[in-house]
Symmetry: C2
Subunit: 190 residues, 2 copies
Amino acid sequence: MVKRQARGRQRIAEILDAALALFAETGYDRTSTNAIAARAGISPGSLYQYFPNKEAIADALSERLLGELREAHAAAFDDSAVAGLPLPDLVSRVVDPLVFFHVANPGAKVLIGEKGQPLHTGVTDRVGALLRARSPHLPDDDVRRTSTVAVQIVAALMGGIVAAPEPERAALVQELKRALTGYLAPPGGL
Amino acid sequence: MVKRQARGRQRIAEILDAALALFAETGYDRTSTNAIAARAGISPGSLYQYFPNKEAIADALSERLLGELREAHAAAFDDSAVAGLPLPDLVSRVVDPLVFFHVANPGAKVLIGEKGQPLHTGVTDRVGALLRARSPHLPDDDVRRTSTVAVQIVAALMGGIVAAPEPERAALVQELKRALTGYLAPPGGL
DNA sequence: CGACAATACGAGCGACCGCTCGTATTAGTC
DNA sequence: GACTAATACGAGCGGTCGCTCGTATTGTCG
């Protein structure tokens, strides 16, 4: 790792911005590294001064988005009151900032769906912790499975939500909440 | 369209078999047409005797899978008794053959998730018809939205189900059923 | 200023992609 | 067997991809 100057840190941010925009427009596979460099206003060579390969760009972007998501979700997750909240309220509290985040960052969805991406595992872990807090006696396997499934449902519907124009979007958010509430409510749930 | 001999029809089937296997292993984008030809035991030139381009292979495969899925689902969908079945029973009746189908045809999942693929629209339409049968007074928009969301939930979880080894797979199928039942049960649902 | 590291450039490499085309072989029909 | 259409081949074209490398410029620090 080399010593970054202020200019270098700025470049990294610009590269991630460009990658995020292009991922949203055309997906990960179909976005070339040369296109990322061009969008960021630099040459391909300069891009590779900061990232060893394309995957590293996705990883770094994933980390940055996870950080931003953590901030946006601080209130929803960290409040210890969540343990006693009615389920529909809890779902809204988690989903609303998440939708806002994805609308503000289209392109995040192509990263959150990928297993192994920090953004994916990070979100899943946080949901798991929340489940744990509400159902302390649930076996580990059930917690893992339930949080994984919940995240997959969110990821599956988020694309349509982000893409929809406004009257339809609100309806789809409502559907997402109904799906999560319905899934989490029954017997073993919370 | 040229006149196909028996050998030609056989080749088409072999090409689709090869494509299905490779799509399951490495996904659509990362599967090359030369690889499909090689797996089918023919040359790239021969492949293009039967399909004008890569997309046409996916389309034809999608059509074939939709046909097979229709057969597997005939009992679940066409029986007029579905109108009065308890929701959990109905969900099982639809989900179980679907899981069986996807386990037998891994690779179908990369096609069912794609909007515009016959496999996707075909399944969504059938679910919509089923909703209509159970809730005749539901507005068209709600039917469309609900069936779309239900299909997206299934598509999202199916990948994990197919990939999981057997004790875990059954648990995940159970989760899928819980999710669908929970989603479809509430107020406006069926 | 001089020395060194960080930043920047962009032509282009090697690999792979979807696909073509000239040619050879095989099967159906009389 | 002769003729035709269907089938089969595979080297390779034009293009894109991720990425490199030699070189030039800019910033930091003594």
